[in-house]
């Protein structure tokens, strides 16, 4: 067939199999029975999609149904409390806000720098660069709770030993979302055509000047979208923070480096566990708040992407 020595290429094999099957079908069964089977299959597919969508709707609807009665601005002003009437999310929301701010401050420079290195400087042949890439891919899929253990062992205790404070939570969440930021930034940087780099270098710019003044500005919308996605993920993560002591009832506004802290998803979990009358409703209201913030963030990301996407 082609010039390949004996080995039939993958494409050819698939094409041949598909052709064989299609021919058998065309020459085989009666059209009547086949049409019914086809419809049935298509129907099953639609049902599958439907189930997924119903599941999504059920989750959202349930949260709204249980929580909307309890919604109100008082949730933002009231403190953590075991009493359903007095319970609010003030400390949790502030805690989450601080956490997100710190995550952005740490994850963006480190993540974008790593992405720049891997895309612009690293020689792909070298084993250590391939090891770095493999590590990033793997870290992207490590369970969140393991990051919590890491944070507990190395940041709250161990070498950094800052204690189970908000900063430890921020560093842990940063490590958690760093692979996401790196991967998204790499894609954005890769999308900038090589001709732009060549044009800049041909003028006598250095490699870094080219990256800083041409590549990064051009990749910025993609990078920002990736950062927002990463922050969205960090916002809803409770598991690692459980290991860092965020589960405790915190009734004072958090200090970054001292004392306890809590976060929105953790407090929601805390409230949801309680059997007292009215607590599930408070938890559900918290879920609504959390989902609303996420919706806003993701809408912003989509708007950003549509507005600034560069069509090369």
């Amino acid at each position: 067939m082609s010039g390949q020595s004996g080995r039939v290429s993958g494409r050819v094999k698939f094409a041949a199999d598909g052709a064989r099957s299609a021919t058998l079908a065309a020459l085989g069964r009666q059209p009547g029975g086949q049409a019914v089977r086809n419809r049935l299959f298509a129907g099953l597919l639609v049902i599958a999609v439907g189930i997924a969508l119903i599941g999504l709707a059920a989750i959202l609807f349930d949260a709204f149904a249980k929580g909307q009665g309890r919604l109100g601005f008082d949730l933002l002003t009231k403190s953590t409390s075991a009493n359903a009437d007095r319970a609010g999310f003030r400390e949790a929301i502030v805690g989450t806000a601080y956490l997100m701010a710190l995550v952005v401050l740490m994850a963006v420079p480190i993540g974008v720098s790593a992405a720049v290195y891997l895309e612009e400087y690293a020689n792909r042949e070298r084993w250590w660069n391939r090891l770095i890439e493999l590590n990033i891919q793997n870290l992207a899929a490590v369970p969140a709770v393991i990051y919590g253990i890491l944070g507990l062992a190395f940041i709250a205790r161990g070498p950094l030993g800052v204690g189970t404070v908000l900063f430890a939570g921020a560093v842990t969440l940063t490590l958690l979302v760093l692979p996401t930021v790196i991967i998204a930034s790499r894609e954005a940087i890769r999308a900038v055509p090589p001709s732009i780099r060549e044009g800049s270098l041909a003028l006598g710019a250095t490699q870094w000047q080219t990256i800083w003044r041409q590549v990064l500005p051009a990749a910025m919308p993609g990078i920002l979208t990736g950062v927002i996605l990463a922050v969205s993920r960090a916002l809803g993560e409770a598991a690692p923070l459980l290991l860092l002591g965020a589960f405790t009832f915190v009734t004072f506004l958090p200090n970054v480096f001292e004392g306890g802290f809590t976060a929105l998803p953790v407090l929601i979990y805390n409230y949801a566990r309680r059997a007292q009358e009215g607590m599930p409703e408070v938890a559900a209201a918290g879920i609504i708040i959390m989902l609303a913030v996420l919706l806003l963030m993701n809408s912003f990301a989509i708007w950003l992407r549509n507005r600034f996407e560069q069509k090369w």
Partner: protein, 288 residues
């Protein structure tokens, strides 16, 4: 020209030779900008171009012509060390620029590219405004001077000023292909180079834009030495002072192919009375 008007020098696009454009004195007395001695380029182990020995003269337009695959672009990219960007590329032989070994140990490719600029086959303006495209080079290189003036001068020299002077803030991607290429030329000359290399600058453009750029080259020749790669023979005949014809050589089993200079001479001679029969076959359209 300095006042922005373009000079109409062409009557019709046939193979014709205009001696009044070529008067640069006898070759032996021309000033040398580049001296190439036994230059070869290999990518990985495979040769791309071999044994090139030629001199390129100051403020001449030197054309490299030949069939595809003969290494013209590869050779061009050696002159501003753009081949450094390809890890597997290896350049042998000697290339002197103004008497200095371009590949010497202490020579910095970045500095080289400030002096020897390049315009690419497909116009590649930056995703910025027209003004910022031109200003990028001078700003990045830390050139002194009033930026508005530098931009205007570059655009005037590239015969683009009148067309864009009222819309310098517009995105460069809104321009036509021909305008974009002239923008790239303006961008290249804004950093005040000595040499401008052009890699098939008109092959992605329509004929009208092509003629505009050919006129432009003839004007730019007053200030810069130009080396152009082109697969359009008529273009080489129209604009260049010197022409090098390269052809593809290959090993007997056809596994390796590389380019070699067959003939390099005054453009008149190459097109009217070439010394080598292969050159004659190519320029008369019998081959290639």
């Amino acid at each position: 020209m300095a006042d922005g008007t373009t000079k109409q020098v062409r009557d019709h696009p046939e193979i014709s030779v205009r001696p009044n454009e070529r008067e640069r004195g006898p070759i032996e007395r021309r000033e040398k900008t580049f001296e190439l001695r036994d230059v070869s380029v290999h990518y990985g182990g495979s040769p791309a171009v071999k044994d090139v020995t030629m001199d390129i003269y100051r403020r001449n337009i030197t054309a490299l012509i030949g069939p595809s695959g003969c290494g013209k672009s590869t050779l061009l990219r050696c002159l501003n060390r753009m081949n450094d960007l390809i890890p597997s590329a290896r350049v042998d032989g000697q290339i002197l620029y103004q008497g200095i070994d371009l590949y010497g140990p202490k020579v910095d490719p970045v500095q080289v590219r400030k002096l020897i600029g390049m315009v690419f086959q497909k116009p590649n303006p930056f995703p910025k405004s027209i003004y910022d495209n031109i200003a990028f080079g001078p700003r990045t290189l830390g050139m002194k001077g009033e930026m508005d003036e530098i931009v205007e001068n570059a655009l005037r020299r590239a015969a683009l000023w009148d067309e864009v002077k009222d819309r310098l803030g517009d995105n460069a991607y809104g321009m036509s292909g021909g305008q974009q290429q002239r923008l790239c030329i303006a961008r290249a000359i804004a950093v005040d180079p000595d040499v401008v290399l052009m890699d098939e600058p008109c092959s992605a453009l329509d004929p009208v834009s092509t003629f505009k750029i050919e006129d432009l080259m003839l004007e730019l020749k007053e200030h810069y030495s130009i080396v152009i790669v082109t697969h359009n023979m008529q273009q080489a005949a129209r604009v260049s002072d010197m022409t090098a014809f390269l052809t593809v050589e290959m090993t007997s089993d056809e596994k390796n192919r590389w380019g070699q200079v067959v003939e390099y001479d005054d453009t008149d001679k190459i097109f009217t009375n070439p010394a080598d029969s292969r050159t004659e076959d190519y320029v008369s359209g019998r081959v290639g």
